[in-house]
């Protein structure tokens, strides 16, 4: 996919030595978070905390049917309820208002573009999932809006619905007339003939079929927005719980509402978790922006939790048939994967690239499998749209590869580490048969590290001890890789992306030498205000207290692509380095002038400009002051001021990788499974703040273990009702469901960004699920257990083993 043969040697060198050169600097230090003071004292400001003058409140009436024709909507009773200001339905939206766009075009194996039916802001003609927004009611209070919404009379004609990904093709229910057989696209990657040849000469073939269970992201802050319009200059301001405000602005302004982009300011203030679900452009905030001008008053909406379950974009929902061909020594010859992926009722913002570009390309894993072919069929179902959820495609790929590898090892009588060692990629750069070029890695080092952490050597004794208590112990391995740092824009564009994927940083040095960093990345828990300050402080040789980080505001930040896909430090951080380089370059010229030396002789080290071999030196702050008080200044050749913007577009993805080992104990009488140990040894390249990185891994592991053991989104097959629409029905991992984690890391610095970083946000959610399921299979002897491995499923698997 990428050509990294012409990598910038100096970048590579700097990345490799970034830690070694300044071991005592802010980079690499376990620094407590700057943002914590406000979060710990209740001073955070989330969207729902914001009240604007003349505030109004919105409530969305949603479809109670999975699929129905709307024969009519009676507003009269509702309109006369107290406090009601306006009620709008899909019929009230003008023709100039478009549908919600999909950001990634997939072209099928037949050469045709994917089916892209209109995604109206409010249902027009039909509703297509339980929770599909039908009308917005705006009132003086939230209670009034909700009470009035209950008085709306919608005449529905229920239609047949299909909710199961396996049943979409050939179903009686047709979600969109424009997509016969409910098929959005059929897409493939890899060399099918080479795979067929590999299977023809295989000594052993391992075959599995399984679901990757549908999940509901459940950030603890529900989605929320507050939209206002100013008559003074016909401009809008939108506060919204969102991960990428500039993308939100672009999509909403240019593709839906047709308002000038510069007349819409999007602010994503403190955001209470995202995990992918706040990447997408949603109907609710778009309707509120539109309504704010119609009403001339600000419109606020906050989702109730059940609305989050019904109408946030869900994750995963794949059904996969996978086969691995091996020679007699357990070396992988070929991999064949057929996946059906649910899109839900409409195409959400990045839905289409997840089972394709972010899934099929990762199927080489950490291995030298020479021939790989993957076919993906994307289908519409009468369910909430599916989009990115922590890992987005890469957990699904890792699950395929690592379940197959562990199963093959058991079938062939090989140790779990041995089958991996026999197939690891050991020479870099390495081009996979599925279009990626891994720049660097040391997979065996992480495997060894994880085995040490997990005390694999001591496992037989622990298993025997458990056996004596009537319990079954199992050990599960997962050696994952992910492609992060999305992405080189030109490559993404060639693959169908309708946006660039660079990142932006503005480093504003104030006259006193203090710095404000404006970043296009967005923090919704990742701690950028600290890690990014560490990067700037290190590069400019100043204190991190002297660096403030501003994010999440299109009115203050030049541009940005936001935070998802573990891209913030790898792409956003590299943009910061680039902006700092520009600052240093300009400041060096100012310093040279002030010191009366040629610029070529001035060196910048640890916050001081100096001329080696002389006593001439100037601190950074003094040069900054000269830039703003340019009395003695080379005005003819240099502008005053010290404020630089950098756009950074990466040349390759980054490839974090590692091995996770899960140890479980199963109660054979009940099937209850407990994770007793979980060990993760990861390679994220260089690490800016180990404390924050560990926290990211912990959180990812919790979501991965949650997926494997307890979490599942369940729709009723007959009625299409969401059965898991509250915290009383959807199993969220609680503290007692999880163990303490054992973490370690190895470092192979990324070769193509200046920090040598790879990203860490999704690793846990990617690596954990197959580790857990492999452990349960090891404990029980079952070949396959579906996720989530509930006590009932495990118990049934044990019963099947005995019979």
């Amino acid at each position: 996919m990428t050509d990294i043969t012409e990598r910038d040697a100096s970048v590579r060198e700097r990345a490799a030595t970034a830690r070694a050169t300044r071991p005592s600097g802010p980079i690499g230090a376990r620094i407590e978070r700057k943002e914590d003071s406000r979060f710990l004292t209740g001073m955070g400001q989330y969207t729902a905390d914001i009240t604007l003058p003349r505030q109004t409140h919105a409530y969305f009436l949603r479809s109670p049917h999975a699929h129905a024709r709307i024969r009519g909507i009676g507003k009269q009773l509702a309109e006369h309820m107290p406090g009601v200001l306006a009620i709008y339905t899909g019929a009230d939206l003008p023709e100039s208002v478009g549908g919600l766009p999909c950001g990634w075009l997939i072209t099928g194996t037949d050469g045709q573009p994917m089916k892209e039916p209109k995604h109206p802001l409010l249902a027009q003609g039909k509703v297509r999932y339980v929770g599909d927004p039908v009308a917005i009611v705006v009132a003086e209070s939230g209670d009034q809006a909700k009470e009035a919404a209950m008085m709306l009379q919608v005449d529905y004609e229920p239609l047949p619905a299909v909710v199961d990904v396996r049943e979409a093709r050939g179903a009686a229910a047709v979600v969109h007339d424009a997509a016969p057989d409910n098929t959005c696209y059929v897409w493939a990657l890899g060399d099918a003939a080479a795979v067929d040849a590999a299977f023809a000469r295989a000594a052993h073939v391992t075959t599995l079929e399984f679901a990757n269970n549908r999940l509901i992201p459940n950030a603890i802050e529900p989605r929320a927005c507050n939209a206002s319009w100013s008559a003074a200059d016909d401009s809008y301001t939108l506060y919204v719980a969102n991960q990428n405000p500039h993308v939100e602005r672009l999509l909403m302004a240019a593709f839906v509402l047709g308002i000038p982009e510069h007349k819409l300011r999007v602010i994503a203030p403190d955001v209470g978790g995202g995990f992918g679900s706040k990447i997408c452009l949603y109907a609710e905030e778009t309707v509120c922006v539109w309504a704010s001008k119609r009403l001339g008053r600000p419109v606020r909406w906050t989702a109730e939790r059940t609305e989050s379950f019904l109408a946030d974009a869900h994750g995963r929902d794949h059904w996969t048939h996978a086969e691995l061909a091996l020679d007699r020594d357990g070396r992988f010859l070929g991999l064949r994967v057929k996946t059906t992926a649910a899109m839900g009722a409409y195409l959400s913002t990045f839905s289409t690239c997840i089972p394709t570009i972010l899934h099929a390309t990762l199927l080489a894993g950490q291995y030298t499998t020479p021939a790989i072919h993957c076919e993906v069929t994307a289908v519409f179902t009468n369910t909430a749209p599916v989009d990115a959820y922590r890992g987005a495609g890469r957990p699904e790929a890792t699950y395929v590869v690592e379940r197959l590898v562990s199963t093959a090892a058991r079938e062939m009588g090989l140790a779990q580490d041995e089958i991996r060692r026999r197939n690891f990629i050991r020479s870099f750069p390495y081009s996979t048969p599925v279009a990626l070029t891994y720049d660097t890695g040391d997979y065996e080092a992480c495997l060894d590290g994880a085995m040490k952490l997990a005390d694999v050597a001591g496992f037989p004794a622990r298993r025997a001890e458990a056996q004596a208590r009537g319990r079954l112990r199992g050990l599960g391995f997962s050696s994952y890789i992910e492609a992060c740092g999305l992405a080189p824009s030109n490559i993404a564009g060639a693959l169908g992306a309708r946006a660039g994927l660079f990142e932006v940083a503005e480093v504003r040095v104030h006259p006193t030498g203090k710095v404000t960093l404006f970043t296009g990345s967005h923090s919704h828990g990742q701690g950028h205000e600290t890690t990014f300050a560490q990067v700037v402080a290190e590069r400019l040789g100043i204190s991190i207290e002297d660096v403030d980080v501003v994010h999440g505001d299109t009115g203050r930040i030049p541009f940005g692509m936001g935070t998802y896909g573990s891209r913030s430090i790898a792409v956003g951080g590299a943009a910061i380095m680039k902006a700092c380089d520009k600052i240093i370059a300009k400041a060096t010229r100012i310093a040279a002038h002030l010191m009366g030396a040629p610029a070529g002789e001035v060196r910048f080290l640890a916050g001081t400009f100096a001329v080696p071999g002389t006593t001439k030196n100037l601190p950074f702050a003094q040069v900054a002051l000269a830039a703003y008080v340019p009395h003695n200044y080379p005005l003819a050749e240099l502008e005053p001021g010290l404020d630089e913007i950098a756009f950074y577009d990466p040349t390759n993805f980054t490839y974090p990788a590692g091995t996770h080992i899960c140890e479980v104990e199963v109660d054979p009488d009940t099937g209850a499974t407990q994770v007793v140990n979980f060990s993760a040894c990861d390679d994220f390249g260089n690490i800016v703040n180990p404390m924050i990185v560990e926290g990211q891994v912990h959180g990812g592991l919790a979501q991965g273990i949650g997926q494997a053991l307890i979490e599942a989104c369940v729709y009723d097959r007959e009625s299409g009702q969401l059965l898991t629409a509250s915290y009383m029905d959807y199993a969220m991992p609680r503290a007692a469901d999880l163990p303490s984690f054992r973490l370690d890391n190895r470092v192979t610095p990324c070769t193509h960004n200046a920090l040598g970083v790879k990203g860490c946000g999704e690793a846990g959610a990617i690596g954990a699920p197959p580790a857990v399921i492999n452990a349960i299979c090891d404990a029980t002897g079952a070949k396959e257990i579906g996720m989530p491995a509930t006590p009932e499923r495990v118990w049934r698997a044990l019963r099947a083993q005995r019979s």
């Binding site: 710990l40 978790g273 926290g695 912990h698 915290y727 007692a736 984690f741």
Partner: protein, 155 residues
Amino acid sequence: MKISVAVTVNGKAVSAEVQARTLLVDFLRDSLHLAGTHVGCDTAQCGACTVLLDGKPVKSCNVLAVQAQGAQLTTIEGLAANGALHPMQAAFRQHHGLQCGFCTPGMVLSAIGLARENPNASDSEIRAALDGNFCRCTGYHNIVKAVQQGLAEMA
């Protein structure tokens, strides 16, 4: 119908007219502008709205404002004194026991409630005690460490 409610919040006596159905969390957020108490669900599961009512943690989405008549309430805004964090707040910061911060106020107040019930709680007792507080970011690992330290320092 409006009903008058008088409570002491973070040491200050306050009173307001509320509707009979007004929830304590809405009273705190909307009437008193104490927005540090968060709403994460509507079924009393997530615990983001936890406050101390007469020293005991309660989910303020599950208490009517009028039920708090005469009570001493502590919210996250009332913990730090003279610019110094409460030991439990400081422990959360030191152990990176928070990421997005949304569950944090409820988590900290539940942990402070635990100090009264079981000041020497073990790792597994802490995990059990936090059953009513969801965190989607941290995987609880660092929260448990923070609570251990917070309990020790409060003892």
